[in-house]
């Protein structure tokens, strides 16, 4: 799980450099963490031979975070709704929902093999610290 902590820390640096307030920074970093956990656990099945990838970009208008795994892929349309009454007391199944709740756009793309998750947080003009604009950064980690 070291890679998850690394990705989470990188997301926090990105949101803070972009000038997001504490609440928004928490939400974005949490969503990124959930995506990384999914990649390690559900995507790669905790296989140490498989890697997850993470890239972080602030293009001045949005924060764009991409998480990839090397697993068998997932169909986001088949994920049960955790807010449905019959699922409310389930012990699992809230990760993707939190990601979608806390970000403005979430895109899934099937790789061969693996899944690429692109997470986008739009920056409001007032909250966008242009000085924090970054070049894309890549993290490749197990």
């Amino acid at each position: 799980m070291d890679s998850v902590a690394e990705v989470e820390a990188a997301a926090e640096r990105l949101t803070q450099a972009a000038g997001l307030d504490e609440d928004e920074s928490f939400r974005v970093a949490m969503a990124v963490r959930e995506a990384a956990v999914n990649a390690v656990l559900h995507g790669n099945g905790y296989d140490p031979a498989k890697q997850i990838g993470a890239s972080f970009e602030n293009n001045g208008e949005s924060l764009i975070i991409t998480i990839t795994d090397e697993g068998e892929g997932l169909d986001p349309d088949k994920i049960p709704d955790p807010l449905a009454q019959e699922n409310l007391l389930r012990g699992t199944g809230r990760g993707i929902f939190l990601i979608r709740s806390f970000l403005d756009e979430v895109h899934f793309r099937q790789l061969h093999p693996g899944t690429e998750l692109t997470l986008i947080k739009h920056l409001s003009p007032a909250g966008n610290d242009r000085d924090g604009q970054d070049q894309p950064q890549d993290l490749d980690t197990k």
Partner: protein, 114 residues
């Protein structure tokens, strides 16, 4: 910061004072073990004090739900006290805020078990 758990008794209620993060690998298993231990010993009134829990993820939410359902199945109750803003935010988004009995005042929470 990993999760630390301190246990105390007050008026027939077992209070777990939690501090740190409840996340996969950083506290969710500790919480599960603590709750199961209490329920296996026959504790019926369990109050989770979350005032010093500054982070919970989907795994931690799952553990809270499991604690709730495990307790219900044993005719016990797990209630929550003093949510931080971040934990409250996540519980509201996931609608779990409507599942748990949640209190801001310890005396009131303890009285609710009677």
């Amino acid at each position: 910061m990993a999760l630390s758990i301190a246990t105390r008794q007050l008026d027939g209620v077992t209070i777990l004072d939690l501090s740190g993060r409840i996340t996969l690998g950083e506290g969710s298993v500790q919480l599960r073990d603590a709750i199961r231990d209490l329920i296996s010993k026959g504790d019926k009134h369990i109050l989770l004090s979350l005032g010093d829990v500054n982070y919970i993820d989907s795994s931690g939410l799952g553990e809270l739900v499991s604690a709730f359902t495990t307790a219900k199945n044993q005719n016990a109750d797990v209630k929550l006290l003093n949510l931080t803003k971040k934990v409250k935010d996540v519980l509201q988004v996931t609608k779990l805020y409507t599942v748990f009995d949640i209190y801001d005042d310890e005396a009131h929470a303890i009285g609710s078990f009677k």
